[in-house]
Symmetry: C2
Subunit: 287 residues, 2 copies
Amino acid sequence: MQSSAERCNQTLAHYLAQQPEISHLRTAMSYSITNGGKRFRPALVYMTLKALGVSLEKGDDIAAAIECIHTYSLIHDDLPAMDDDELRRGNPTCHIKFDEATAILAGDALQTLAFEIIANSQNLSDSQKVRIIQVLSKASGPAGMVGGQAHDLDSEGKQLTQVELEAIHNRKTGALIAACTEMACIAADAPKAIHTTLKDFSLTLGLAFQVSDDIIDITSSTEVLGKQQGSDHELDKATYPKLLTLDGAQAYLSQLKEKALTLLNQAELNCSEQLISLTHFVADRDH
Amino acid sequence: MQSSAERCNQTLAHYLAQQPEISHLRTAMSYSITNGGKRFRPALVYMTLKALGVSLEKGDDIAAAIECIHTYSLIHDDLPAMDDDELRRGNPTCHIKFDEATAILAGDALQTLAFEIIANSQNLSDSQKVRIIQVLSKASGPAGMVGGQAHDLDSEGKQLTQVELEAIHNRKTGALIAACTEMACIAADAPKAIHTTLKDFSLTLGLAFQVSDDIIDITSSTEVLGKQQGSDHELDKATYPKLLTLDGAQAYLSQLKEKALTLLNQAELNCSEQLISLTHFVADRDH
């Protein structure tokens, strides 16, 4: 994961350096982009390419673009009108560090930059670019991430069933995680069957990521989390431990891990070691 | 302009109907998209295609996409942390009609939809789509619209020179207006020389649009404007009448109009009648 993160950070630094600095806009974009994320989504892109036997260069712009989308969503989610979070990974959130207007614009600009990076990529054909933008826009729009966030905000304080909670997470985080493997498959010109199996795998992995996030929110400390411990719980948000108990959520996480590993086993991949490790990382992490 | 608006409205209605309704997200997107805009940018796309002798179908998705970007920027600009406007074209702004979180997400989703529409277009080749997304993302990102908005917010209460004010407007509104003719030229496979002349034309037209906006803000009534009369003046924003006096601003608008008409005359167009009328409309409008 570390080498994936370093690769992705280099690409992001390259593209951010090309942006003009106006007011604090570029500084705010860089601040949030470099705010210590795990670069889980870029890792998934690179590890999928590796599993498909394709050179990592093909993934550089995809990894950078998806991290721009992910970061923009965090900046906007943290705003006072949304989750109203003051800490993100141990540092002040963008609107606390700068101001609300700058945070809104930095998020907007990072979304734009994601599509600009793909459209201007030197490593992808026009046909690949178009299909990647189709996937990225669908995964981040109303049918995906933004829709999931709207549903999530709307569900605060409501009693949700597991099916409803899963629908929220599949949109809010799952769609973008599934887009990582899908876009890597497009860049690798992978056969259709592999697209499908890896999509099932990454949706399962994304759900596991969310379940483990919910578990960590109540089992870890504020210091380790880098955000207020129990903050999701406090907001009266639906979480897996609330729905299934903590033991139940942990058992569910184990099931999802097994399912993800089985799917990896079914896919005919050149080398699935890294994706197997990533699955263990997601299910077994404590922060 | 009316037939351009109707064409564009049909395309937008088609794409919005495909979005899932989650919480009030699609309703909020539709509310702002259908809130009585003049559809100036779509008109510029269609009129450029007409001037280049190309069928209007080639412009449908471009016109819809640019209107999504324009509308998203208005929703976010109206937010309390930005311009804090409660009225837009005589109706409550998105965050007043719904709430701030919904307005932020509706803006985000409209930006995403713009790129999704181009990537999924049935009327454009992959190469055209890629070049259009390059133009649209550059024009709406930090080097364009979002950068202009950041600069504009930063300049409130400051004494600006005409050069500085022009730099703000060229980014904030000019870049997107210039993108209209540029994207139409791409869709029409127009010769390079025409791209350049029409870009100069539309930048001039965009600046004229802004100067006339500033003039109207102080000469028109709240009722005609559909927003608080004198609101830019109140915010202590730099405007052309403030910088040049009202007479000076009107004289400058006339110069810009003449320049735009001269550029149209220089470009070798099949039929420039509509673009000539549009130029008169921009310079002579009273609301």
